[in-house]
């Protein structure tokens, strides 16, 4: 078997008609409380999508549904053709494609930065240790943490930990990255170093979905912005039009508070 190009016949063709992430009427209830009330959106390959909205509007729940950390109550989610809502979902297959970075970094505190990045490829994918280590060192350098390989998470600042978390996620070579308020727990001065890393990823063509409160960042890097409130998408559009001429009253009120 020979493959002429990396995009040979086996690689799926992503076109605007075939979004890499597709949500249709996604619903989620916790008990009697409906957090998501029918969310539909598409994310194309290489697109950077920001989800903004007031606290408790279901943003985090939405993003966690996409890699099946939270089971949905209704509707459908597909990621690269994998039906996430399928009860027989192959979670490993999904999670190889979708990386996730959390608000609290959630590094493994008993492992060094390098080990944190190496663990999943070794334990989950069973890849060759030497190859994984080379890649992990390169990833740490990429997030500007060369020299911190042997530091434990407890010895790193919040911003450094978050960049290790990004490298850890990238080590699985995902096609989509989910960022769940990844700068919300950081000091103002370290927010920037994390945002720079995410921006570089976006510029390299990584498909990114971000839940964020960093409006300026969203305006700069996003291709598309979704504003959610009380479980529905109130308004969405390209950043230029979205920030300049929001039509909905709720969007305008939210933007006037955060901008």
């Amino acid at each position: 078997m020979t493959r002429a190009t990396p995009d040979g016949p086996s690689a799926p063709a992503w076109t605007p008609d075939h979004p890499i992430v597709r949500l249709r009427d996604v619903r989620k209830s916790f008990g009697t409380f409906e957090v998501l009330k029918g969310i539909s959106l598409d994310v194309a390959k290489g697109e950077v999508v920001c989800i903004i909205g007031p606290s408790g509007s279901g943003k985090s729940t939405l993003i966690r549904c996409i890699n099946a950390l939270v089971p949905v109550s209704g509707g459908s989610i597909t990621v690269e053709g994998i039906e996430v809502t399928d009860p027989k979902l192959d979670k490993l297959a999904l999670r190889r494609k979708v990386g996730m970075v959390f608000q609290q970094y959630n590094l493994f505190p008993h492992k060094t930065a390098l080990q944190n990045v190496m663990m999943a490829p070794l334990h989950v994918l069973g890849q060759d240790k030497r190859e994984v280590e080379g890649r992990a060192r390169a990833l740490l350098a990429k997030v500007r943490l060369a020299g911190k390989e042997d530091a434990y998470p407890g010895e790193l600042s919040g911003g450094q930990q978050q960049r290790v978390a990004i490298a850890r996620s990238l080590a699985m070579r995902p096609d989509v990255m989910l960022f769940d308020e990844v700068t919300a727990a950081l000091d103002p001065e370290t927010v920037k170093e994390v945002l720079v890393t995410i921006r570089e990823l976006a510029e390299e063509g990584m498909t990114c979905m971000l839940v964020t409160h960093e409006m300026n960042f969203a305006r700069d890097v996003a291709d598309h912005i979704y504003f959610t409130d009380r479980g529905v998408i109130v308004e969405h559009g390209a950043p230029a039009t979205f920030f300049a001429s929001a039509r909905d009253e709720r969007t305008r009120r939210f933007l006037s508070q955060v901008l």
Binding site: N67, L69, K91, L92, R95, R96, V98, G99, M100, F102, Q104, N106, L107, F108, P109, H110, M119, A120, H123, V124, L125, Y152, P153, G154, E155, L156, A165, R168, S169, M172
Partner: protein, 249 residues
């Protein structure tokens, strides 16, 4: 050197009446050492087995299967709420006599498990029940978000347990585990009751033949004090080795 020690204790006996036969009579010394060996065998085997029982039990206890959860909880209740001596008797005299015998090549009937093996089984289950609860306390201290991060990276529950949850839980519960293992080491003396020739058994034989109860009592107490001291030293070494720079302090 050895002869000098023997001579000294013989002299001690002749001058003061303190009769530490074990230190000058080779026959008593051999019995004592054999007892010590059996105690060490019991201690090492039951400590290792009870750790495995604790780790597996705690995994099943937090698992999705209701049946397995119920079984583990039942096991913990039974072995934690009954006296260890009664458990040893139950296994050796109760279960042991129900099991069929084996026949050796020369036609001798021997039980499937010897009294030493029954003691190991029984004490492991007893300490294992406590270890399940101790490990559970450690597992509950592992942040749910850490486990979530592992899940998001594709870890299965079992892999996350092995590589992330258990190593972190162990660090939290080590002091409690320490206590239980010390107790277990001392509880191995209960094997005396089914004639396992461990230290207490050997020392008792010596004192009833040599009429030196007080002296052998002192030897016995010192022996266990040293054994527990060694165990504590090992556990503290382990605790230090597991310490994570910059974590939790």
């Amino acid at each position: 050197m050895i002869e000098a020690i023997q001579e000294w204790f013989r002299h001690l006996y002749e001058t003061t009446g303190f009769n530490f036969t074990v230190f000058y009579d080779p026959y008593d010394w051999d019995r004592y050492v054999a007892g010590l060996r059996t105690t060490l065998l019991l201690a090492v085997a039951t400590i290792l087995a009870s750790l495995v029982i604790g780790a597996v039990g705690a995994l099943l206890q937090s698992g999705p299967s209701r049946l397995l959860r119920g079984l583990v909880n039942g096991f913990v209740v039974v072995f934690r709420n009954t006296p260890p001596l009664v458990q040893i008797f139950f296994f050796y005299f109760g279960l042991g006599t129900l099991l069929p015998d084996l026949r050796t090549a020369d036609g001798l009937r021997v039980p499937i498990l010897t009294n030493v093996q029954w003691a190991i089984v029984s004490l492991s289950l007893f300490a294992g029940a406590f270890n399940v609860e101790i490990f559970r306390s450690g597992i509950e201290a592992v942040p749910k978000t850490t486990i979530e991060a592992a899940e998001a990276l594709g870890y299965t529950r079992l892999k996350a347990y092995r590589h992330i949850v258990l190593p972190l839980a162990l660090r939290v519960c080590l002091p409690a585990l320490n206590n239980n293992l010390i107790n277990l080491l001392k509880t191995t003396t209960l094997a005396y009751a089914i004639a396992v020739p461990e230290t207490l058994y050997a020392v008792k034989q010596i004192w009833s033949e040599s009429q030196n109860v007080l002296e052998m009592m002192l030897v016995l107490l010192a022996t266990y004090a040293v054994l527990v001291g060694v165990l504590v030293w090992i556990m503290h070494r382990w605790e230090r080795a597991l310490r994570i720079p910059g974590y939790g302090r």
